[in-house]
Each structure stands twice: as structure tokens, then as C-alpha cells.
Amino acid sequence: MFFMYLLIVGVSAFTIQPEERTVASGNCQFRGKHFKTIFGVEGEPAVLRCPQVRYWLGASASFHVNMTWRKNDSAGMAPGGEETQVWVKDGALWIVPALQGNSGTYICTVRNASYCDEMSIELRVFKKTEASLTFISYPQILILSTSGSLVCPELSEFTRNKTDMKIHWYKDSVLLDQANEKFLSVQGTTRLLINNVSVEDEGYYSCVVAFAHNGTPYNVTRNIKLRIDKKEEETVPVIISPHQTILASLGSRLTIPCKVFLGAGTCSTTLLWWMANNTNIKSAYQEGRVTEGQRLEYSENNENYIEVPLIFNPVIREDLNVDFKCVVRNTLSFQMLHTTVKEASTFSWEIALAPLSLVLLVLGGIWMHRRYKHRTGKTYGLTALKTGHQDFRFYPSNIKEIK
């Protein structure tokens, strides 16, 4: 037992020591490149936030960590104070103004007494041209015929502690007039409201906020590419079948289709299922005698339908006492239709009258046949008489010709 204790203590001490050495020697665990590339515009400020600590709750100071930045191609890059072009503030790397030469990969190192890791992030600084718009734009989507808002993104560093924040909005490089009823820049926020969104509202928008550093004014520009989508239409589904009672013979296979009409609505978010006595079919019939068939989605005259059949293999007497219901639900509504299976009566008048009707049919056939025969005979007699008359009529002429 004592030997085991020594072994455990020895192993744990061994595993901790190298980690301490690693931290001390600066060999940090590299956690890879951050997924996001920071795009900047030449002449404007750029801020790189340390990717590892960005989403730690609270300020980085509370974690007692030391954050350092370096550029990948210059190992010894130590940012200066706020009077220089590049400096660190609250763990973020500020480059004011950013130039094309500042493009590259930056590495943030986070360390404390027992922990150290590194992560890289890429900065790309573009010249302010139309060609660069596609790279530096943030895609945003609004829905047709609704009212929505565009958000000027990633401004928190420049708008913090500012109550007088003023954002200028442009559409396709044209300043949007505040008197315009279509667009409304909401004061004190980063939002641009767009009333009754139309297809014409698609395009590139820019939001510009003023930022001063050491008495020098700078513009911070964000570009947005607005896409207008049509809302996927959803309608209240209508169950159009089955009937309230379904006739079936015991021991036979039975399929009851539940058919739902959706109009122009989407099938994808509409659920359709069967229940037996308020229980899921799979749970109610675990042996699989009664099952739900394959869901079928189809269109007729640009109107959508869904069908899910309930399959009995076979129908048994217990099914006659079960309350089956077809249930349909989507985000707009929940509906159900009850149906019961009734035994098709074994004695039916159709079956009883079948032999009688057969006899009548045979008798009728014989009578028709006789009558038909009688009529045919009369017709034949007349024909023969006519023929005889014709022969008689032409006979003298023949004689004449012989003469």
C-alpha cells in the first residue's frame, strides 16, 4: 500500500514538473490559427483581440494573465505606448492607422504562473477601392416586405464609453438622408432601420463612425452586403382525410392514409403522425403489427400535400376499440382528426342478391337471345322475297336479249 502511495506521488510530481519548465522556458502550447481573418482599410484604425481570451467572462485582468503580441515575421516586435502606431490596450493590439505593410500573421501569447498558450490571427489591410468591397463586407440578410435593421458590426472598441456616438450610413457610396422615410439611423445605437424591405434595397452599405486618437481624427468604416430573402411561407395545415369511420374486414391488411393540404406552405417544417389512444404508434404497437408508412410529400397544381399512411397488418378485433388520430403540427398550428376502424358486416345485401341477380341475368339473356332470333327470322324472309321479285322482274329482259 505504501509502495503504491509512493508510486502515485512520484508520477504526479513527474507530470507537473515538465509543465512548469515549459512555461518558464516560454515553450507555449500553440493552439493554431484563429478562424477569422481581420480585414482592415488603409488609413483606418485596426484592432486585433486576443482570440483565446476574447470570450472569457470578465476583464482579462481578473485572470492575472500576461498577454504579449508579436508579428510572425518579427519575433521581437514589442508594441509601444499609445503615442506609437502599434500598442496594446486591454489585451487588444491597436494599429492606428493601419497600413498595407501591417498585413500579416500576429501571435498572441497568454501566460500565468502555471499556464501558457498561443494563438495566431491574420490581418489583411486593403486599399480603399471598390474591388476590396467583396473581401471586407459583412453579409447581412433581411426578409422581403418586413421592416428590419442593419447593424454596423465590430465597433465596440471605438464606441465604448461614448454617448454621443454618431454613425453615418451610405448606400452604394451615397449618404442616406436623415429625412428619408425608408431609412432611419437610430441615434445612440449601431442600427439602421429599413422600412418595408424591397428587392431594390439589396446592395452594399457602409457605416462610418468618427474616432480620434491623440488629437488626430480617423474614420472607422464597416461595409455590409445586404441580401434580401423571401420568407419561407408557412400556412395552417388542413387534414382532408381520413373519414371518421373506416370499414375493414378482420384479418385483412388495411391502409388508412392521412392526407394534409398545405396550400403554398412549406412541407419541411410540418410534422404529421398517427396516434392510437393518445400514444405514439411505435410505442402502442411495439411488435410492429400496426405501423406508420413512408411520409409522402407532393404537389398538385402548385399546392402542397403531405400523406402518412397507417398500416394494419392485419386488422384484429382489438383495433375496433382504439381511437386512432392523425395529428399535424407546424409553428402555426396543431390539429388532429379522429378515426375508428369498424368491422365490415359479413352479411350484406349485395352478397345475398348476387346469386339472384345472376339467375335474372341468365334468364334475361335467354329471353333476349330468343327475341333476337325471332327478329332475325322475319328479316330473312323479307330479304328472300325481295330477291325473288328482282329475279322475276329482270327475267323478261334477259329473254329479250336472247331474241
Binding site: 478562424f35 459583412y138 400514444t279
Partner: protein
């Protein structure tokens, strides 16, 4: 016809400190902060004519009531005193109400749903995947991405929408006529969003496969509510909490503001 007396008149002033009474909107609001936090809220809904609760102001305002279903009499603390089935188009008289209150033999109505703590008996069965490869974006037009640890989600303004996490939404059905329960799985992975406590980050939980039925692990289920272009995901395990985003925080569970709880669902477009 005799005027219907207000059977709650004597009860109005009897509620204790830990109970609240309100007759606002013709409804009895009951909030009993007991140890078990029993919820009787469901009694006040009109479940397709199955059950109808008699509100205070409703009873006092109307002199002639024709009820086609049950009448429920409630004490101010939420306890169901009596229930009585009335015949169609039968007028309620003061004698009827007296009989209802004094009849000791009638059994109390049980709440339709158990309190949240005891709802694990509800079974949710998988129906179908209703959305594939869709992305969620919050009110600040931020997409959801995985954080550097890969365990959590965070919201970020993206210049490339392909960087956003894509979700498959699986719909579940239940015997209850409830909202629409869904799971959110990161497309082409086995990672499902799992709700935690208030202000705690939403976890990405690895499952061997899409659960065919969920009974105990309701953390994986969210009631999907859609209002126009706004979509909300309310935890089935903790129905007061929603999936939410907040500036510089991981995607977490929140009751509402200052966190953003509404999302836009963006369909996968080629």
C-alpha cells in the same frame, strides 16, 4: 334569476405573504412559492373547452352564465376546491355555487402537467429532421461559431458566412399538445446543443446518434417558437430559459434582456 355571488370575496383578503392575488384580465393569478414550487398555471388555460377556470371578476360581473363544460373553483393559494360538471346551457344559480362549495365528496382536479421538476415522465419521440444545414444569426446579425476550445458556441460578426456553424434541426413529438420540441445538432457531427443553468454557456454534447426517444435528457430539447422572422429556443428542461447571445460572451441560457434571445434562421442557399 338570482345574481351570482362573488365566491372569492372572502378569499381575497386571506392570502398569506408568500402568495399573490390578481384578478387582472379576468383571471386568477396564482403564485405559490412553496418548497416544491408547484405550478398550477396550466389550469387557467382554456384547453379546447376541456376545462374552464372561473375568475373572480368574471363571476361577479356576469349575472347569467351558461356553461357547456366544467366549472372549477379555486382557493387563492391555488388549491382546487371543487369541480362540478354542468349540463348544456344550464344557468348557474347561487344555490349551485353553494352546493359546489359545500359538497365534500367531489374530488379535486389534478393539474394537467406536473411541475417542471417532475416532467421527466413525458416521452419525446423523434419524428423528422425539419431543417438541414441552416445557420442561426442573432439580432446583431452575428453568426454562431465554435469557440477556440470547441466545447462551446459564440456569436461573431462574420465576413464569410461559410464560417458559421450549420445546424440540423430534429423535431420531436409528444403525447402532450405542447410547443414544437427540437434538437439542434451541428451538421455532419454528433454534437448536440445542451442547455445548462441560467447564464451558463450552452454545451456541445456528443451523442452516439440522434436519440430516437428522449425522456430524461431533456437538456437536449428546445421548444422552437416562431414569430414572423424571430425564432426562440426555449429549454424543455428549464422552460424559463432561452438560448441567448451577448456581447463578448459565449452562447448561454438566459431569461431575456440584456441577452439576445431571438434568432433568424437562415436556410442553406447555394
Amino acid at each position: 334569476m338570482a345574481k351570482v355571488p362573488d365566491v372569492f370575496e372572502d378569499l381575497k383578503n386571506c392570502y398569506s405573504e408568500n402568495e399573490e392575488y390578481s384578478s387582472d384580465a379576468d383571471q386568477l393569478s396564482l403564485n405559490q412559492k412553496s418548497f416544491y414550487d408547484a405550478s398550477y398555471d396550466t389550469l387557467h388555460e382554456d384547453h379546447g373547452g376541456k376545462l374552464r377556470s372561473l375568475g373572480t371578476s368574471e363571476a361577479s360581473k356576469m349575472s347569467q352564465l351558461t356553461f357547456k363544460e366544467s366549472v372549477v373553483v379555486l382557493a387563492a393559494n391555488g388549491k382546487v376546491l371543487k369541480k362540478r360538471r354542468l349540463s348544456f346551457d344550464q344557468f348557474i344559480t347561487s344555490e349551485d355555487l353553494e352546493a359546489i362549495v359545500n359538497d365534500a365528496e367531489e374530488e379535486p382536479i389534478q393539474p394537467r402537467l406536473a411541475p417542471n421538476n417532475f416532467q421527466s415522465s413525458i416521452k419525446y419521440s423523434f419524428n423528422k429532421v425539419i431543417k438541414k444545414q441552416c445557420t442561426l444569426s442573432d439580432t446583431s446579425s452575428q453568426g454562431l461559431i465554435r469557440d477556440t476550445s470547441g466545447q462551446y458556441l459564440m456569436a461573431a460578426a462574420l465576413q464569410d458566412t461559410n464560417q458559421a456553424v450549420k445546424f440540423d434541426m430534429g423535431a420531436y413529438i409528444t403525447d402532450e399538445d405542447s410547443l414544437l420540441p427540437v434538437t439542434l445538432r451541428i451538421s455532419e457531427t454528433r454534437l448536440f446543443l445542451s442547455a445548462q443553468n441560467k447564464d451558463e454557456p450552452v454545451l456541445l454534447k456528443e451523442m452516439p446518434e440522434t436519440p430516437k426517444a428522449i425522456q430524461d435528457e431533456t437538456n437536449l430539447l428546445f421548444f422552437w417558437e416562431s414569430h414572423g422572422t424571430k425564432n426562440y429556443f426555449k429549454s424543455v428542461a428549464q422552460p424559463k430559459l432561452f438560448i441567448a447571445t451577448k456581447q463578448d460572451q459565449l452562447v448561454h441560457m438566459a431569461t431575456g434582456l440584456p441577452s439576445n434571445t431571438d434568432f433568424q434562421i437562415l436556410e442553406n442557399k447555394p
